[in-house]
Symmetry: D2
Subunit: 432 residues, 4 copies
């Protein structure tokens, strides 16, 4: 997590202030439950809520001495709460606080990421309808294939980010659990009802069975989902990078009037945002394997996962949040060049209609093999000598024996390819 | 995928025979739909089902010539179907067949993996109840912490594999889609209703919007889930490896009478199965990142994903299937040594009760800080000089000032720690 | 390792036949040394060499019974050698044979990979000199930057694969060690001189200190190098994929006359080989992390690494061998289109000379800031309105105030950019 | 990179101050060369060195405006240098500065890491000689195998970190190159001799052929090496974690008198440092794959690598530096318990001598198969019933028929296993 690729709201989740505030709430809610159960006095619970406070610097100072963050926090808290502080944290273990706090942080992070995706979806939808009927060439292998529309391309990304949204909901649910179960998860010194109360108060589910910690397969799943979502970011970013290539130039990242694409070359307009997104995707993705390596903790827990999570918790969520927001901006302001799309469609003298010509020949009784051969022999000179496909076909007697000039012309109709755009739009957006 | 780590049923999914059979079904179902729509004669569809057949060797021979697997298959199919074969595959593209086939294969693989997990869950549940009340030491950091029961340990793994099951269901749903949408996903030459028909016939959903291919974020998610499940396998395997260590020896993989643990050292009994599972987990996990790298295909598709999937599709599913089955066998036949568990519990003269002694002291009015100090000063000689914790406490005047011998004795009761085992069992198994 | 992406020579290294042959040689050489030391009779060593033989099927049959591959091998060997066989393997442990064999296999694999790189280097060098002076546009961010030559591009790849070669030599050296040190590496039952003898006979170095196994940091380094080399394969493959894009078309994979680019679209010519190489690179790269996870074996060894190596040993070497050979073929037969390179260079009316115009203006006393502004304001209409850069400059009074038409023309000279090609060639190839 | 796991010296390399200082030196050295070549006035070069200065805050302020870090730096520099500043950076491109700076930073990082390893080697060597002859059990699969010495264990780690050192030297050499070659690496606007001069001044080699950037296979190799070294850290850390397990307790991380192992359990002494190292290893290792994904930049460069390197450059080097230093501290202060080692050796009644007994039996004419069977049948009751191995052997008539009591006793001699410790020490340390 570096400021350059951070947004405030997500970064704030990981600030010490937020963390200690969550710790406080966990302890205070636990006191409520303990008081309700008669384990501690009700006044104690009340005192915690009323007088409870902390200062990050003070906690740091204490920690420097006692070398234990939770103890440092509790000490500072006690300075505010007074003697009733001795009822705080009773029967709990540090991990009860740490793991439940991490759950709250990851839930909040997930909520922001879901909002991010919602905004991205809105942007893609708007642009998709804007270019719903704008013809552009579909490419496989980077080579012209057949016509699509630019809106159709965007519809595909919309569907992908709808899936991203669902996955984030699943990821959120995976890590939304609370453990207040003591040193080895037996509730030896604390009633399970305390866990239930704290869970409910924080919008979490009680972890059915914890050891000293919440099991890390949950976190592995969470980061795995982030890695998949980042890969989807990369796909759309890569599409735009391709569209902006000098020779293609069908779309372009917004370029402000005062912007400088290169210090040395004043003519440059570079897709730097989407290139950056490609790199950010790698950064999110790299957190997946360590999160999986964290699962096999020894026995009831070892602490090897902790340093990993201190790093990848903020890194993956902050980076993905930044990436989603940046991508939304790119989509919203994307400059689209329908005329260049048309020019590219026209580039090969109609080669993109080769399949349709072949099918038409077969419908006229030419065998599939012969039809393929006929079309291919007229297609290759377009590539190799820059000839016009339609013209070549018109001059090929075997072709014209089967297809009249008018029939041939009709085969070069773009509308043929876009007739089901509405169907697809209805599938994706529920409307067309 | 190597035979050593393969089971027949899962490997069969990836055999050429299975693949071509699925291809046949896709084509035949598509013919049904085309016939229903009046695009091809009904007799043609009927002929495909009735006379359709293929031979793997023949397809291989044709492919060696035409260098295209789908064309080779169709040619061989035509040899059986006869002239009506010209209506097969009409308006479809190779990827329609390939991607839908992969979906069917991954769905079947998921079904086997879910069955595997079910069997593992059954084995864990049986052993968990068997040792529900068997005391054993809970460890954090590899160091004795507090008592748990062996059944409680197993309950934790049961809960984890319940989650694995749910994740596999999600993974299954992710990839259970069908695309019959033509060269760039526009349905230019084939009606969307064909896709709907084939999807239904094969137990899949129509892909809302495909390009030339089914989008690869779905597959990335699938392999990510496999990676998480493999990590859970590793966790249980690691637990058993630890329990079998010579000095711990609380449990042991089954060792048959004729088995040789080592060619050189006749005394050896090694946890080789669970060590092997640790390695297999790495193999499944390594497929996650390439599956994510596959997502950002160029434009409407490039074929970089194909070689990756040819390898990781079989590798990850076959290896995980093998691992789950092996783990089930290990759990079923695990030799458990309750007496060694008890001996280990007793090893440190009751040090595992240190927290409870500390809490008792605080309840008697000793400040938390002093209580900690008192307990720690009696605990350290146990480590360093092998003394007995209970005896030391009994000889510490500050301790005995607060706690009577009887009170002290009561604090060394294992039952105190296991009183909520039923609660946890009910959470995990729905019964206790 | 799947046949589709395998070459015979590399695959043969991993065949059971090869493995057992190496095992035999290790045992036989060890017998020589033991005989020399007087530990076993000289006739025994001689008998092993003279009568030693094995049959893969027989070994498999024995292994099915005894469940131990080394014992099965020794049993089969004994069937041929006779009573002297009891002197074979004395004081050794299975890992002595297995690990030394793996070293021999990886060394041989490295040798093939080095040969592969040599052939690739030769191909790149030939094509680099062929197109040493062929102007083409250099691109950053996929956007035209300034002119280079196609030979210069290739020189860069040559330098990269020279580094790949050096890295493979390092990798080879890393794993070229022999361990014959017994059950825990103490030489308790075998003299260190046996290890030295076997090492020398097999072209290996003695492992300075082994445990039961050769330490796995060596193997981790080996696979890491393969991952880097695969990434270099990906870079060149990606370059070619880009050059073949329909709109760019500066180079193209060889396309045979009878080839079919697509079953559906007869006009297609796709860069399928380089796309495939991109996928293969992912497959090689995915082996790096598990190889690193293999390093931290427990104590003197656990067997978790074994399953991993059974898979990634063949997979990574066979796949990389195949990829390097395929890439060599692609480079050798690459179709290059200098005229398209020139057309692309000309595409933007000389925009690629923007830096030079800016520098010229500053040399005429215009401030850097003003020069940038002047050039940029004439560059942007080229992008946005398709105007001619040279013409716009000629019509801009602030520009013509500083630069005469002749001076401007001189700035559009490609030769200016290629004057140091010889320097670079000499650096890379030692000749120009 | 988070402060918790950072050391000052390494973190300083990545501070803005350091970066800009390196930028300054690159520019100033380039001016020297340009002046020498007569391209710019000698006074200008002199002025840069004499008056050159910068302020981080000022650069940040300018960058906020111009959105370009190199331009911001040059502007701030010009404010100090005055009019001669217009000669700075002439003919260079931003990447010339950025990439050469990164090379300098990584070289410095490598130097620190090499120092770290040297200190670790010294610590291991000291402890290895301290415990050179201390018997301890060697374990395979976590199960007692045969005796080794604790010094021998440490010698193995020493050899591994010697290799780590060599690898770091190779990594250092890989990235120690300088590129001053202009926008697309053609030296169009700058003489190659400038690059040579700057390289030499900074202790780098000229990059034989750069594009706009230094090729990223170099960086991939660098991070791959860091990943391997981190994996070696993990191996030693894992060893110590195992040795400290309650039931094993052969060694222990230093535990200060005031330390608290757990807030809840006053008796705890946990190997938290080595557990932490296990986590840190994962963090270093996760940077390897993205560094490899960075290699295949598009054409002469895209900027996807930049965000990745901004993160992993500091993260991997700072984390590994911290880990190596922490590991050195752990080794230096490791508490070793020779008496526990002996107790563990004795635990199984001499089972660790099973191989030797078997070999002795074969030397007495018992067939290998029978010897194995005899030893195994006496070994298994030790495991299963806790019997004494030596006693069982003495009571087995088939055994005593071949071996006298005195012969049997002699086989239980630890010295037999340690007789080659000196040999190994000489191999590793050059002395014994």
């Amino acid at each position: 997590m570096i400021p350059r690729y951070s947004r405030e709201k997500m970064a704030a989740i990981w600030a010490p202030e937020s963390k200690f505030r969550i710790w406080f709430e966990i302890e205070a809610h636990a006191c409520d439950a303990q008081a309700e159960l008669g384990v501690i006095p009700k006044e104690a619970a009340k005192a915690v809520w009323e007088r409870g406070a902390f200062e990050v610097e003070r906690i740091d100072a204490i920690e420097a001495e006692v070398k234990h963050d939770v103890i440092a926090f509790l000490t500072n808290l006690a300075e505010h709460v007074g003697p009733e502080a001795r009822f705080v944290h009773q029967g709990m273990t540090s991990s009860d606080v740490l793991d439940t706090c991490l759950a709250v942080q990851l839930v909040r992070a997930a909520d922001i990421l879901i909002e991010d995706v919602d905004q991205l979806l809105a942007a893609i939808e708007r642009r998709a309808f804007e270019y719903k009927d704008t013809p552009t060439v579909g490419r496989s292998h980077g080579i012209h294939a057949e016509p699509v529309t630019f809106g159709l391309k965007l519809a595909g990304y919309h569907a992908e980010f709808q899936r991203a949204r669902e996955r984030l909901l699943i990821a959120r649910k995976e890590i939304a659990t609370c453990a207040i179960s003591g040193a080895v998860g037996t509730f030896a010194n604390i009633d399970p009802r305390v866990e239930e109360h704290v869970a409910k108060a924080l919008g979490l589910e009680p972890e059915p069975v914890s050891t000293q910690v919440i099991p890390r397969d949950r976190h592995a799943m969470f980061f795995a989902v982030l890695g998949v979502v980042a890969s989807s970011v990369e796909r759309l970013a890569t599409e735009i990078r391709h569209l902006q290539r000098t020779e293609v130039r069908e779309a372009e990242e917004f370029f402000s009037e005062k912007q400088k694409g290169s210090s040395a070359m004043p003519h440059k307009r570079n897709p730097v945002l989407t290139e950056n997104l490609t790199g950010l995707a790698r950064l999110v993705r790299m957190t997946v394997v360590p999160a999986m390596e964290n699962v096999a903790l020894w026995h009831e827990r070892d602490i090897s996962h902790s340093s990993v999570e201190r790093m990848i918790g903020p890194d993956a969520t902050v980076t993905l949040d930044f990436a989603l927001a940046r991508l939304t901006g790119v989509v919203e302001k994307l400059i689209v060049y329908p005329e260049n799309m048309q020019a590219n469609l026209d580039k090969l003298g109609g080669l993109i209609h080769s399949q349709r010509v072949m099918l038409a020949l077969t419908q006229k009784g030419v065998s599939r093999e012969d039809a393929y051969r006929l079309v291919q022999r007229n297609a290759m000179p377009v590539w190799l000598e820059g000839k016009d496909f339609r013209a070549l076909l018109g001059a090929d007697k075997e072709v014209t024996a089967a297809l009249s000039p008018a029939e041939l012309d009709a085969l070069f109709d773009l509308g043929y390819h876009t007739k089901h755009v509405d169907t697809v739009f209805r599938r994706v957006f529920g409307r067309a």
